[in-house]
Amino acid sequence: MTDAAHELFERLGAGKDLPVLKRANGTMLFELKDGKRSERWRLIVDKGEIAVARGSGASDCVLRADRKLFARMAAGEVNAFAAVLRGAVTIEGDPRLLVLFQRLLPGPPSRRQGRRSAESGRPRR
């Protein structure tokens, strides 16, 4: 089954160095509930180096969410911090990891792009 949640972990696990996480250390465990089943992922961060693993294990922060909701977060349709505030997603452990993790999520569809991609050249310099 491929969806936004899988794609997110695949992207993160692709070994790309992510500067957003460079000061972070720790393991974040994701428990994604799908009916009676639970899917578990771990995101292991060591000074910007990221590894992704399936299954349970030691962690510094646990995020629990409904799998469908998490997929919407991973697709940028739901804001992760707002979801935590309303209790749709729960966090146990170091909340800093959540703050850093949510920065890796995409934004919702937008009308606007950065200048570099939107335009070429500057009118007046």
Partner: protein, 690 residues
Amino acid sequence: MSGEVVKILDGNTFVVSDDRGDIEASLTDTTGLFSFDTRFLSKWVVTVDDQRLSSLSVDDLQYFETRFFLVPGMGTVYIDAKLSVIRQRAVAHGFQEVLTILNHDEKPVKLTVRIEAASDFADLFEVKDALEKKGRYENRVERGSLRLVYERDTFRRSTLISSSERAKVDEDGLTFQLKLPGHGEWSTELDVVVEIPGYAALEARKGRRRTMEANLDRWFAGAPRIECDWDPLKRTYRRSLVDLAALRFAPPVTGGRSLPAAGLPWFMTMFGRDSIFTSLQALPFTPELAATTLIALGEWQGTRIDDFRDEDPGRILHELRYGELTAFEERPHSPYYGCADATPLYVVLLDEYERWTGDRKLVRELEFEARAALAWIDEYADLQGTGYVWYQRRNEETGLENQCWKDSWDSISYRDGRLPGFPRATCELQGYAYDAKMRGARLAREVWNDPEFADELERQAADLKRRFNRDFWVEDDEYFALALDLEGKQVDALASNNGHLLWSGIVDKSKAKAVVRHLMGQRLFSGWGVRTLAEGEARFNPIGYHVGTVWPFDNSFIAWGLRRYGFKDEAAAIAAGILDAADFFDGRLPEAFGGYEREQTKYPVQYPTACSPQAWSTGTPLLLLRTMLGLEPLGEHLVVDPALPARIGHLELLDIPGRWGRVDAFGRGRVEIDGRPGARRTARTTARRG
């Protein structure tokens, strides 16, 4: 009869009650127990034998603790009380209240003590806007405790109330039946705990009080000491340190370290702009605030484009909130990014922090964030493609229209009072961008080991300065326009923003003298300080929020700007005016005061605001101490170049922390302040860094 409002707080948990300690809030009323932007108690009323209490006195013990001395009865004349009631309350993840009843009679007495409790769980935004609630309420009696619960879908907030003495608990409160012997005493500890499930970091932190007291002692021990012939300055300094301590705020993501929140109590949260400005003001005194501000704002730095939150990659947040409306994305504060100045100011703070502390480790760690902030200036802020920083909200429903510090609807106007359309490029934003590029260049060269990037930034800065001095300069009257409108035309009102331009260094040396003449002239300088908008402009109003009042924070940065361009006496005149005003407010400067001529009113007329103390007003006397003493890091040393108002006499600032360890600075007042020094004297023009 109890109109007096008492506030105590710890971080973003605070209690606002009347002077009896009671809370009786309506939806639009602002009393209550608040935490994480939610009201957890809207009713908390003590009665003895069905009688309300009257206040004899209130002792503010600490910013987080207060004590109420009360007697039963509501008489307006002298009450011959046989009973006293003492409520001692300390905020600590909710609050603890020790309720004591003293029987002054020889005879024993039987009493019914009742505490009525309820909560509307209003979001702070709802208190402001009086909105309807969408969830449901339930009050539960649970094993001798009362739990007030509010639920909406998965959102849940609750308040747990318990007592050390046995109480009869019902859904509306607690009742104690007691027998007090002659001259006897009874007391119970009431524990009110705010509960936010699912966010473990917010859960109970018991026994915080002792830590908070030790913390306050350490805070004072760590700050420089002051010796001064002029007592009001000593009082103001002490007041500033106490208030700054109260304004510290440790959001759940900073590992217990504190940064300054914006204002007490309604703005006890992270604000990009306010936290940065206050950290800059406090750098010579408490540099650790700057470090936490940089780390926390860096961790929340924008990474994506999100129109609802006005977020872009590299953008520094404007405001973070935790309430119900934010939780359901009915408000964009999770966090909201709609401000145009915090991002360049982030780089300014990072550089200034390194110049004072020598903490290159942090500058290396935040290299990515600083580079992303610098990239934002060119890639996302230049909405018109003209090489300037512009702003226009994308969230048109709940976003902020004006994304500069003068954020009220009428703050940016032409001389004739017309308001420009959007986007707008206000002048001070260009100054901050210039300064960010110059300072970023220094960091790139000296810390990040990237001389090419440094050269590029300096090239861009020089180009920006050249264009700015051409495009914003109002030729006929010789000052910088408030903004450019979307057609690139000057929004030509004269405003205090000119002072921030001096601070940023973007002003051509040849133009500085004319700018200073305006700042210290009749139209802008009131005698207390520089007005936000000049007298004579169509929208000028001495009690208009950003269109005529004097803002202490604004003036502290203007004074810094004057020093930067060598106008020491003028900087001293501003310090003298603002510190005089501070004395009228017992050392606690308000956010703003009236822009009336000093001669006319003799005392500064306070502008009514909801928040006091306000962080950047609290930081103002600190920055003014810096500008008066002329403190400036130079390599590994601290340069002291005092220019003090004569009245201050001898001034010593001892144990100033920094990369030099601790050093002392001394100065003696020599600048005669006779109203308007800049207007009368030939100004000095020895620029040091401009």
